[in-house]
Subunit: 333 residues, 2 copies
DNA sequence: CAACAACTGGCAAACGATTGCCGCGGATGA
DNA sequence: TCATCCGCGGCAATCGTTTGCCAGTTGTTG
């Protein structure tokens, strides 16, 4: 049975000052006399005092906590993001609540509702919610999004320029002689997916190649076989897959069916997650700077949370680039 | 500027009862008259009321939050654990604070100190702390460990029987004709490492083979080349590597040096993380049920947190098994 | 020398929910 | 009819911290 933790009152009594003075000594440097402050600090140290988060939250309205909401905790794409946000938030004195919504819009809503008031802010990664919903939530709670913007919204966001990376991938395939190429897309609720489709359609027109749109598919390895079979049926020689996880599943299936990659079919993934260079053939993919994205998102949120000069800082778009490995090659003769 | 969230007082006023009655209507079913309760519930619903975590925490002393502390957030080994704990905790109405200590004992201590009082309990995964420290913390805060036990401790834990899995791996290699086998170990602070060393030494004696102990190594891919080189220098034909991450690094290096796996050297990993079946040759490894471990850990903690009948439930040991893939084969003639 | 500012430290009121205690009214039993 | 008990709902204390306000002291300036 853990005994009662020391309170500010204990510290105050031990150092012979009022509770308010003790409070100020601890969190308003300069507000109290240096020698008094030192006495309080010493008492706090002796007692092993650390402020009660609940008390502080109640009184100041700030919890020093932010939530990171992701659609799939098992997708390595989010690891970099998690690490990026966590390291910055920790520096800023915040802790991190991690929420996995398992690709469900409803779970996302429920989560936001339940943590409203529990957290000072939210980082919403690859949200599946609609524009209106996000805009509405951004009125209620300081918000930063990753890979999602909302037109006319008044919150900051970090976007990765995946459409451009995909276009690079398309150009790569075209330069290898491919002229019929498929795009195996992700969930309809994915903002990123829509933008890629547009950019690819435009680029395909410009390059004079045929683009076959497939999907939507769940962005998971298990959905790979369906993609592989659809791709083979479509008669293309190259495919751009929504993300690496799905691409892994595609490669599994192609190997099982004895289809040569890249001889018969070139495959490009997206995200450059952990494992992309492990698989054989090593996956050509669009690399996105997830950890940096996490850093930026945390910085933007911290800026918005700044009690003295809260500000919605300019949004950020991070460049992506194609990493060519062994899963792409010249088009079949 | 988000407007003030509705408080219990608002609900009470709207339904024409006292705050205390509203509180009881919401969280003490049966304590108030059914029709009154319904009125309160309706008001709460209309207002979109959800209880302030801070207020509740302060008054009841419970935060409905638990911390999951892991040494390396980027190690896929912990993903399964995270998902396992999260799903169970959510069912129990708890949220999840994730902390990455980056393999540092000091960071682990610091974390525990800073979250004491912020959370109702802690799940400590693969802690690097010493027995005494863990025992001490377990006095202060309800605690469940994963892959770590402390003799005579009064907290529950979930252990995976990795030593047995490693012995299976050793037997596997021996049956393939290997007689000189290395064990490339993890951090000295890893409890699991010590137990595996003991079990392997015993088994090697029983089987009449020579076991070469190497290490300690950092359990990361980047440390792999050093392991690979040490293994080659040691003249063994098979190696048991501390975890898959490290094994991936070993395979990288062996491929770069043109060493045939499993022809010249057999490699066994541990954990069966995401990617183990992706790498080529696919990695033979000891599979551990991480998600189940997460479930159990959460259940044990929830049991300990139960306000009516708190209890330290019996600890759990989960079986592991060897997954044979392509990185092991007959010993070199 | 008077007036004023700057600096310190204390008092007490929030913040929002939980919960022990009490009192009121109606039902029950003797 | 009276004593008792129970069901229900209100009052008010409590949790630990922050912070607006004020008062006392000291130092500064015209």
């Amino acid at each position: 049975m853990p005994e009662r933790a020391p309170t500010l009152r204990d510290v105050a009594e031990r150092s012979g000052v009022a509770v308010s003075t003790a409070s100020r000594a601890l969190c308003m440097p300069g507000r109290v006399n240096a020698v008094t402050a030192e006495r309080v600090l010493a008492a706090a140290r002796d007692l092993g005092y650390s402020a009660s988060a609940a008390g502080r939250a109640l009184s100041s309205g700030r919890t020093q906590t932010v939530a990171l909401v992701v659609p799939d905790i098992m997708n390595p794409f989010f690891f970099g993001i998690m690490r990026g946000t966590q390291s910055r938030l920790r520096e800023g004195g915040y802790v991190h609540v991690l929420v996995d919504t398992e690709e469900s819009v409803e779970a996302e809503e429920r989560t936001l509702r339940s943590i409203r008031g529990t957290v000072d802010g939210v980082i919403l990664a690859a949200s599946r919610m609609g524009d209106d919903d996000i805009a509405r939530w951004s009125q209620d709670v300081p918000l930063v999004t990753i890979n999602r913007t909302v037109p006319g919204a008044e919150f900051a966001s970090v976007a990765m320029d995946t459409p451009n990376g995909e276009v690079q991938a398309l150009e790569h395939l075209v330069s290898l002689g491919h002229s019929r190429i498929a795009y195996a897309g992700g969930p309809r609720t994915s903002w990123s997916d829509g933008h890629r489709r547009e950019a690819l359609a435009l680029a395909a027109g410009r390059l004079g190649v045929e683009l076959v749109g497939l999907g939507p598919y769940a962005p998971k390895r298990e959905a790979g076989p369906a993609v592989a079979d659809a791709v083979l049926a479509s008669g293309v020689t190259g495919v751009l897959v929504f993300n690496d996880l799905l691409a892994f599943g595609v490669l599994d299936r192609l190997a099982a069916r004895g289809v040569d990659v890249p001889g018969r079919l070139s495959v490009v993934g997206c995200d450059d997650v952990f494992g992309a260079d492990l698989v054989r053939p090593a996956l050509t993919t669009v690399a996105v700077p997830t950890e940096r994205a996490g850093h930026h998102a945390a910085d933007l949120l911290l800026a918005a949370l700044d009690r003295l000069h809260p500000r919605v800082a300019a949004s950020v778009e991070l460049p992506t680039h194609l990493v060519v490995r062994d899963s792409t090659g010249p088009a079949q003769a």
